[in-house]
């Protein structure tokens, strides 16, 4: 496999991972932290954050599972539609060529 492609893919993965990490931090902070009496997190907030992080990871996993299952089906349907459209266009072209050919013979 092309080493450049492999690096690009793993860089993309790394970027997605970091992005996901930032989104998680923001989301869990917004949901779990509502008091500012101290610089430290309360036990309740810490527990909330742990659970929030776990949930996010599981959501991501579930989304991936369903996506992997459903997306190919949709892609296949689209390809069939495109193929059918192409076929009908080709038929149209052939029939128009045939009629032009017969016209030139007459003239």
């Amino acid at each position: 496999m092309d080493p450049n492609a492999l690096d690009f893919a793993s860089l993309r993965n790394f970027k997605d991972f970091l992005q996901h990490f930032n989104v998680m931090s923001e989301s869990c902070f917004l949901r779990c932290v509502n008091t500012f009496n101290n610089r430290e997190l309360t036990e309740e907030e810490a527990l909330c954050v742990t659970q929030c992080a776990d949930k996010h990871v599981k959501v991501n996993k579930k989304v991936m599972e369903v996506y992997i299952e459903v997306q190919p089906q949709i892609a296949k349907k689209r390809m069939e539609e495109v193929a059918a459209l192409q076929e009908s266009l080709e038929k149209q072209n052939k029939s128009s060529e045939h009629s032009e050919g017969s016209e030139t013979k007459k003239s």
Binding site: N13, F17, L18, S25, V33, F36, N38
Partner: protein, 98 residues
């Protein structure tokens, strides 16, 4: 940091740039989040009140704490995933021989 791709020195710069970009993204999110939490939308005064200052101080401390905890958790999880993948791979390699 786990999840980091195996890179040579030439790609290291790209990875570093990516880290900086993501730090910047985190900073922006933190600013927006703490603004939302600590500054009420009624802008009576241009100056930061004492309450607002203290709130921002603690908000940022908490945000960074959370960011660190989640980072550790994700690192731990991805290390576990890597171990699992390696074990699966070695099992697959052993199976045809039996």
């Amino acid at each position: 940091m786990a999840g980091m791709p195996p890179v040579d020195i030439s790609k290291l710069q790209l990875v570093q740039e990516l880290e900086i970009e993501m730090m910047s993204d985190m900073y922006n999110r933190m600013t927006a989040a703490c603004h939302k939490k600590c500054i009420p939308p009624k802008y009576k005064d241009a100056e930061l009140g004492k309450g607002e200052s203290v709130c921002l101080d603690r908000c940022i401390a908490k945000y960074l704490d959370i960011h660190e905890r989640i980072g550790k958790k994700l690192t731990q999880l991805s290390v576990q995933d890597e171990d699992l993948m390696k074990r699966m791979q070695t099992e697959q390699q052993q199976q045809p021989r039996t």
